[in-house]
Amino acid sequence: MKRLDVDKFGERLTRRLAGRLSRRSALARLGALLVAAPAFPLLPVQRARAADAATAGQKGTDFSRAAQTHDDTACNYWRYCGIDGNLCSCCGGSTHSCPPGSQPSPTSWIGSCINPDDQRAYLIAYRDCCGANECNKCSCLNTDHAMPIYRPQANNHIIWCFGTQSFEYHCSMAVLVGLAE
């Protein structure tokens, strides 16, 4: 599989978004995000996870020592250090897009994984795709820094389909949020 070129990917994504989204659409989405923000306080979570990740980044984890960066359909792909469920990459989607027929949840739990290529910790949003029957392909259960259910912002057992039309779990993405440093 082709190695992921983050710069080119970022450029492509930005161009695609700019080409497809009207300003009104972007503003509407931003508005929705602001409305949803009080219910899902992402920033404090990000900061807390960033502190974890910074510590973890100095030492690595048992998962990161054996992780790889070229095959996003394998459970040991670096971003999947805390994933629990079916990989969307095996179901017609990717690490950051839902397969057709399913819908991305606007909510997620946040983990941090170490990229073996640069040994830096990145924030990863584990977002579920919902509405279609369970994909049942590439089922992975990784638990790096996964927390119990009473700490929901870092728990991978909750069905993160809040805010979608359906709670039917289909698969999980591992969306790169940014550096956790």
Partner: protein, 401 residues
């Protein structure tokens, strides 16, 4: 090819003819055995019905299927025979509990009017009677939809109240009056989750800062919630969701990823005993979260079972690194929760995800792998019997948590 097929057909015909001859001979011999050579009586016609349900026995195991992997349903298996007794319908992501009469089954579950969409209905379904049939539902204000977790639903020890953990995503506990068949209160527990009942109407929840939220009714009959001190460090070694508790005595054994057991006597003012290490009980160094430390650790889906009468804690154990708390157990360790001693280490035939122990005088130990239920003797570790099962989610026994 054709020739072989022809020969095969011929051989099959010969076997069939031989069978008929043998069968006919046996039938003739049976006729001859009847007094006076009379043919056997014609079998009586039958009426289809439902096998009467005798109630959950002390050696029965009730388990649910693992959502996403298998179909739902709550299934009962007789531990003395390893045979299926009954199956009750449930939705995905359901939890369940038996009333103290051992005949009434409550299932906390969620449905949508159009399958995967439409109007959502969260209900507590009631099953019982001689055929274990549906006896109605109690509407719930919400539920947590998650992989199976034992402590998302529980009954008070006397069976009068049900407690259902809700996450919408604001965390709360619905207190259900099971006699009046209605939700009596919705108790908000911000920053906390799960439910561990104690006393007549009290419950405790684990909190994200390492403390407990304790809820009980005050003099005005309303629930009041307060926090205890922090007794574990959630960032370095959190208490597992699947820690065991005994609703009758109020003793909870909150156990961490690294195998530290925090005994807490649940009450309005909980009493915290000194923590002890499962690994130390076995003569090993305590497990830590240091990268690369491969040692014995508790793990699995439901990794602990408790037998209050003998204070025995059963733990599924595996050798693994930090954060491997969901790896299945290759051994069951039997620990004395009073003296903090390791009593036995039993091998399981196949790595097990769930463990359960019956609560009677002659207990049975259950180990559940992805496909098998192993019925074991908790005193010798001997495998008494086994049966194939659907991939299990949760498991409960009579009188257990």
């Amino acid at each position: 090819m054709k020739r072989i097929a022809h020969e095969a057909v011929k051989s099959a015909a010969r076997i069939a003819a031989l069978s008929m001859v043998i069968g006919g001979g046996l039938a003739a011999a049976a006729w001859a055995a009847q007094p006076g050579g009379a043919p056997p009586p014609v079998l009586q016609s039958e009426t289809a019905g439902v096998t009467p349900f005798q109630g959950l026995t002390a050696h029965d195991l009730t388990y649910s299927g693992l959502d996403g992997v298998t179909t739902g349903g709550v299934r009962i298996i007789d531990g003395d025979t390893a045979r299926t007794v009954a199956t009750v319908f449930s939705s995905q992501y359901a939890n369940f509990a038996w009333a103290p009469d051992h005949r009434t089954l409550y299932i906390s579950e969620t449905y949508w009017t159009l399958g995967n969409r439409g109007t959502r209905e969260d209900v507590l379904s009631i099953y019982g009677g001689p055929t274990l049939s549906n006896e109605g539902e109690i509407a719930l204000p919400g539920r947590l939809i998650s992989d199976p977790k034992t402590h998302t639903f529980a009954l008070s020890a006397d069976g009068r109240y049900g407690y259902d953990y809700s996450f919408q995503p604001a965390p709360a506990v619905s207190v259900i009056d099971l006699r009046a068949r209605k939700v009596a209160a919705s108790v908000e527990i911000p920053g906390c989750g799960l439910v561990f009942p104690f006393g007549k109407r009290g419950f405790a929840s684990l909190c994200a800062d390492g403390s407990l939220a304790v809820a009980d009714v005050n003099a005005q009959g309303k629930y009041a919630v307060h926090r205890t001190k922090r007794f574990f460090d959630v960032m370095t070694d959190p208490v597992m969701d699947e820690s065991v508790s005994d609703p009758h005595s109020g003793l909870a054994l909150f156990t961490t990823y690294d195998g530290w057991v925090h005994p807490v006597h649940l009450a309005d003012t909980p009493r915290f005993d000194k923590p002890w290490s499962i690994e130390k009980a076995a003569g090993l160094s305590p497990a830590t979260s240091h990268v690369g430390q491969i040692t014995w650790r508790p793990g699995g889906q439901v990794p602990f079972a408790y037998e209050p009468s003998r204070h025995r804690l059963f733990a599924l154990m595996h050798e693994g690194p930090p954060w491997s708390f969901e790896k299945p157990g290759s051994e069951i360790w039997v620990l004395d929760a009073r003296s903090h001693r390791l009593l036995h280490r039993w091998d399981v035939p196949e790595s097990a995800y769930l463990v359960a122990v019956t609560q009677d005088e002659h207990p049975l130990l259950f180990a559940l792998s992805e496909e098998w239920l192993w019925v074991m003797d908790p005193d010798t570790g001997a495998v008494l019997r086994a049966t194939k099962i659907v991939t299990p989610g949760l498991a409960r026994v009579r009188g257990g948590q």
